[in-house]
């Protein structure tokens, strides 16, 4: 069986059996739209003329949180929105590979004579599923912009985000008001790398433990602004083009690519040594 055929089979089966995964970005998009609309109404009621654009919606979903300083009177606030986007994206791809390994995947491996093909098709499936999650979210944002009359541009309005997240006025350097495409691309790349890491870890541990690992990475990164905490690359509000002590986007891309390649190789090694018939 050819590799591309395997990927096609995976995509077809997940579309049929895991169709509810497409609901997560739909629900999230609707909730985010509702909250932004409410916030906009609040601002406009106070007499301030405020508009928002597509860039604001992206910053809202992928912004994350400002740097956390553990000082008295400043307890940690959970970045729920960012967590929902990345946590649900990881959750949506958590179950399928292991489930397939315990079921149909075994027959596929026997028929293809190669375990590596099965694993590589799962890696490609993971990338496709993660991309489709973020693509759906993006399309919903576009639809909201069209229906509510917001600008379809990557402009963002920092005053609006200060109102939503309570960001201190001095926090953001004035680096323009347009979101760069690269800044939007890095959180999605981070999401792909995280999901690949989770999938590879699922082969070594049980899926629940690999998900706990993913959540711990996200939480630790929200807590600490350091280049080695990879979750910081997934937060637009912590990137160096926006704040002076932020993490470098270019370093981030290299690290995330390395994680993707490393996860693929680790999974490949594990699947070669895994006795699939004894797998629970």
């Amino acid at each position: 069986m050819r590799y591309i055929k395997l990927l096609h089979l995976d995509l077809k089966r997940t579309m049929r059996e895991n169709i509810e995964n497409l609901l997560y970005p739909l629900v999230l998009g609707a909730l985010f739209g509702a909250e932004m609309w409410r916030a906009l109404c609040c601002i406009q009621e106070s007499g301030v003329h405020q508009t928002i654009a597509l860039g604001d919606m992206i910053l809202y979903a992928y912004g994350g949180m400002e740097e956390y300083l553990p000082i008295p009177g400043n307890s940690f606030e959970f970045p729920t929105i960012w967590f929902l986007v990345l946590g649900l994206s990881a959750f949506s791809v958590l179950n399928w590979p292991v489930r397939d390994l315990e079921g149909t995947g075994q027959f596929v491996m026997v028929q293809t004579n190669k375990k590596s093909r099965w694993w590589l098709s799962k890696c490609a499936w993971n990338v496709c599923a993660t991309l489709s999650f973020h693509m759906i979210l993006f399309l919903i944002f576009c639809m909201l912009c069209v229906t509510r009359g917001y600008a379809l541009s990557l402009d963002f309005h920092m005053e609006f985000h200060r109102f939503l997240f309570g960001l201190p006025p001095e926090y953001i350097d004035e680096r323009g008001t347009e979101l760069s495409l690269l800044a939007y691309f890095v959180p999605i790349l981070f999401s792909i790398a995280l999901n690949m890491l989770q999938m590879a870890m699922s082969l070594f541990l049980k899926p629940i433990y690999s998900y706990i690992l993913v959540l711990s990475i996200l939480l630790s990164s929200a807590y600490l602004l350091r280049p080695y905490m990879i979750g910081n690359y997934g937060m637009i509000l912590r990137q160096d083009w926006l704040i002076s002590n932020g993490v470098s986007i270019h370093t981030g891309i290299l690290i995330l690519l390395a994680i993707m390649i490393g996860s693929t190789l680790a999974g490949l090694w594990k699947i070669y040594h895994l006795d699939i018939l004894k797998k629970e």
Binding site: E35, P70, S75, F78, T80, L84, I208, Y211, L215, L219
Partner: protein, 295 residues
């Protein structure tokens, strides 16, 4: 099979499985981060104190333990909201609570074990036994690491009675939940809060039984309490709309930690949420299970 015997069997299964032990180990590992943070802080404080005492006494060092140092009630993991350990444990709490036994109902349904048990004991009895075991395993699984942390911190720092004038350090203010109790009987306060957390953890763990009635995938069931808590936390953004109003804390993510989160916790909200959770998990589950055809 009598209900008592069935409950005993389920509790045995819930407490003697590798997932329960793994939960305790993960929980203890996370709470250790809090202790590590405390040790670093104590080392820093000691150095500062020695410097101060040297300056004050012309180089003569007195007993360094005599000065203001860390104390138990704001050093244990749920007494401070700043360390990485406290942050991780608070937000992973809804994940950890259903690992010990939240998966069992789902697995026993898919393997067919449930049918054998129902034939021997009856649907209602089986559900009650499973509910009690899941509740206890969930509660104990997340409370035990907290108790271990409390005891370990108690071995390192003294349990000084908190003083109201340092309320900004403790984070328990006049309007905070059980603040009088905290400043008069801090140990009782800790016990009451641990009991509240135990009840919440148990009830949230039983949510996985409800989810398992609809969904077949056990890890999805195990993670469902976390996802529900996260979604509810997001929905609070639609409730806390006025920054000038002091609302009551309704997010389960924050209620479980005595001093984390912006708004104060209240008994009315706690009791209301417990009633809702109990209503959803036990009453609805019991009714559904009684009428549901398992074959």
């Amino acid at each position: 099979m009598r209900l008592k015997k069935l409950v005993k069997l389920e509790i045995h299964k819930a407490f003697y499985n590798k997932f329960f032990i793994m939960t305790i180990l993960i929980g203890c590992a996370i709470t250790m981060l809090g202790i590590f943070n405390l040790m670093c802080q104590m080392k820093e404080n000691d150095a500062l104190l020695l410097l101060l005492l040297k300056e004050q006494n012309n180089g003569v060092i007195f007993n360094p333990a005599a000065g203001p140092r860390a104390d138990l009630y704001h050093s244990w993991i749920f007494g401070e909201p700043f360390s990485l350990g406290a942050v991780l444990y608070t937000f992973l709490f809804p994940v950890l609570l259903s690992i010990p036994y939240g998966w069992s109902y789902c697995e026993e349904r898919s393997t067919g074990y449930i049918r054998n048990m129902v034939v021997k004991s009856g649907k209602r009895e089986f559900f009650v036994a499973k509910y009690i075991a899941t509740f206890l395993a969930g509660g104990v699984g997340v409370i035990l690491p907290l108790i271990v942390n409390f005891v370990m911190v108690a071995m390192m720092v003294p349990a000084r009675k908190p003083m109201v004038r340092y309320e900004t350090i403790y984070g328990v203010f006049g309007g905070s939940f059980l603040s009088e109790l905290f400043y008069s009987h801090p140990l009782v306060y800790v016990c009451v809060y641990l009991f509240v957390d135990f009840v919440f953890a148990g009830l949230l763990a039983t949510l996985s039984i409800m989810v398992a009635m609809k969904i077949r995938w056990k890890w999805v069931c195990v993670l469902s309490p976390f996802l529900i808590c996260m979604l509810l936390d997001y929905l609070t953004r639609f409730v806390y709309v006025d920054s000038n109003v002091v609302y009551k804390q309704i997010s389960l993510m924050y209620i479980i930690h005595p001093i984390m989160g912006g708004y104060p916790v209240s008994w009315s909200v706690i009791l209301l949420e417990i009633s809702i959770l109990f209503g959803i998990t036990f009453i609805m589950g019991f009714t559904r299970e009684s009428k549901h055809e398992i074959y």
